[in-house]
């Protein structure tokens, strides 16, 4: 194939987008629909993970300091805690602060504690871990430190949270996987149908001696253009829907400090994914579904051409 042919075939691909505009619009709509669904599912996943990460950070290990530890020893313990692996954060809570908190927590039932003659609570450190999976070993490491009286940890909650996180990721990925499969299904069928409606054209091209590549090339270009178009449009639509949703959610979701992942953080990876997906769908889709019409010995209106 010489350069002239190549440029002609490429131009032809562009022309076909316009000539078969009903098909082009239909295919683009379908491909866009699929990409938008996947995009929105991804945004949900990303946000759910960010919410869970937020909760995870509140899964606190309370390290009670020995009552007889000196101020210096307490401070040393703080430094040691900070230098441990897998520690995200470590804050000191004095016994006075702890009592205040306790009172506050009890709310109007606080007067029940006013009868107590002394503050029974010790100094403590609130420690958060960065990786919940290493929770247990971190707790063990803390227990080995000096002047640690008791480590109060919520092993059960940690386990539950880890499980929830796993489940959410699992479900989200399954949903996205399912959407991918469904999209593949839908796009494949759409491309197949559009190609079917162009089998006459293909059979004529073959009968005047066009090679399979000569026929395929414009279809491929056409598919690629529609793929790129769908990818770009989908990104716009996902962005629009996401901003709309976040806007209306942040006004609905009072009493929660929900901070949605900004779209800009995912825009490039999503753009890349959409373009790759769109181009792959358009190009491979047309190549594969054109194949049967490129087979030798098939007539344009032959009913047997409807087999699959």
């Amino acid at each position: 194939m010489n350069r002239g042919s190549l440029s002609y075939l490429t131009k032809e691909g562009f022309r076909n987008v316009w000539v078969n505009r009903l098909m082009s619009v239909a295919s683009t709509c379908v491909l866009m629909s699929c990409l938008v669904m996947i995009g929105i599912a991804s945004m949900l996943l990303v946000n759910m993970q960010s919410i869970i990460d937020g909760i995870e950070n509140e899964n606190v290990i309370v390290v009670y300091v020995n009552d007889n530890a000196t101020k210096a020893q307490t401070e040393k313990l703080g430094k040691e805690l900070n230098s441990l692996d897998n520690i995200e954060n470590c804050t000191f809570v004095s016994k006075e602060e702890a009592f205040e908190q306790q009172l506050e927590e009890l709310g109007s039932a606080a007067n029940l504690l006013t009868g107590l003659e002394r503050n029974p609570l010790p100094d403590s450190y609130k420690v958060t871990v960065s990786n919940l999976a290493l929770f247990d070993s971190t707790v063990k490491a803390i227990e080995k430190l000096n002047h640690v009286n008791v480590v109060r940890e919520n092993r059960e909650f940690a386990a539950q949270l880890a499980s929830v996180k796993k489940t959410v990721t699992y479900i989200s990925l399954s949903v996205i996987g399912l959407l991918l499969i469904v999209s593949l299904f839908i796009v494949a069928n759409t491309v197949r149908v559009t190609m079917f409606s162009r089998r006459l054209e293909i059979s004529i091209m073959k009968s005047v001696g066009a090679t399979n590549w000569f026929i395929r090339w414009p279809f491929m270009i056409e598919g690629m253009i529609l793929g790129i178009l769908s990818g770009l449009l989908s990104l716009g639509v996902v962005f629009g829907i996401y901003e709309l949703a976040v806007g209306s959610l942040s006004s609905t979701l009072t009493g929660f400090d929900f901070s949605p992942v900004p779209f800009s953080r995912v825009v490039w990876i999503m753009l890349a994914g959409f373009l790759a997906g769109g181009v792959a769908a358009g190009t491979l889709g047309s190549i594969i579904s054109i194949k049967k019409y490129l087979k030798e010995k098939e007539l344009e209106y032959d009913v047997s051409a409807e087999e699959f």
């Binding site: 194939m1 010489n2 002239g4 042919s5 002609y8 000539v19 078969n20 006459l200 054209e201 059979s203 004529i204 091209m205 073959k206 009968s207 005047v208 001696g209 066009a210 090679t211 399979n212 000569f214 087979k295 030798e296 010995k297 007539l299 344009e300 047997s304």
Partner: protein, 279 residues
């Protein structure tokens, strides 16, 4: 150049379209193929262009052994042909110009040459004013001429034309065949199916007559002296004096064979009765 050896073609539905055909056409020949409707003429041509594959026998065209041709080679083989299809086969969403240019682009012609050649072949068939029209905007005869122009575009060594004059007036038919004979004089092999016997007689070239898939006549021309005169003669006017003379060639060549087929005359009175009862 073209060689059919014992070629038979049976379609999947059981129709025996060609039976044991042996034909040799040399480079530079001009052959008319005639025969009744359904005799197997188009099948004969389709086998030639490797659009159908024979059920048995072997075909050799332009040094390609069609039965051994790999799928990859088929397009390259087809480029050595210029074909006018009976059903035209114009690409619906391309203009006349693009349809013809496409056939040239397929063989890798340069844009410059295309721009020169396409308008030329279009004007050759008298369609200069229609170059930018789509096939759906053309009359039947105009479409047929586009198909002809496309077949001529690449100067193929072998031109195969399946009734290229079926939709044009006699004057134009004559001119089309005249053009083909000129190309033939310049060395192009031409195989043409036609129903216009006047044309066949007028141009006086080799004639192959097919009947029910068999070659019943293959001779120099369709003149009375060439057909076995003891069994009948080919009439110069196309109408038989009586309707019950079912098939003129059949009658001419095999007077004893009873033709299955068009039965208008046997049922002529029933027609009107049938018509009445369907009212």
């Amino acid at each position: 150049m073209i060689e059919f050896n014992n070629v038979s073609k049976t379609f999947t539905n059981g129709t025996h379209a060609l039976k044991n055909v042996n034909i040799k056409i040399n480079q530079g020949d001009f052959v008319f193929v005639v025969g009744a409707s359904g005799a197997g003429k188009s099948t004969f041509l389709k086998l030639m262009m490797r659009e159908e594959v024979p059920s048995s026998g072997s075909i050799m065209i332009n040094n390609y052994k069609l039965c051994e041709l790999e799928n990859k080679e088929i397009p390259y083989f087809r480029r050595t042909l210029g074909v006018v299809f009976q059903d035209f086969r114009l690409i619906p969403n391309m203009t006349v110009y693009d349809n013809i240019a496409f056939a040239m682009r397929v063989i890798g012609a340069r844009e410059k040459k295309i721009r020169k050649r396409v308008p030329y072949v279009i004007s050759l068939v008298g369609l200069a004013a229609k170059a930018r029209s789509y096939p759906s905007e053309l009359s039947g005869g105009e479409q047929q001429r586009v198909a002809l122009a496309r077949a001529l575009a690449n100067n193929a060594e072998l031109i195969i034309a399946d009734e290229p004059t079926g939709n044009v007036d006699p004057q134009m038919s004559y001119e089309i065949v005249d053009l083909l004979t000129r190309l033939n004089d310049a060395g192009t092999t031409v195989v043409m199916v036609t129903h216009e016997h006047n044309l066949v007689r007028r141009f006086n070239r080799r004639v192959i007559i097919l009947e029910h898939g068999c070659v019943v006549y293959d001779g120099e021309s369709l003149n009375t002296k060439n057909v076995r005169s003891s069994q009948g003669h080919i009439r110069h006017d196309i109408m038989p004096p009586k309707g019950d003379n079912a098939n003129i060639y059949s009658a001419a060549l095999n007077p004893k064979e009873k033709k299955e087929g068009f039965k208008l005359h046997e049922t002529a009175t029933v027609t009107l009765e049938g018509a009445g009862d369907a009212e």
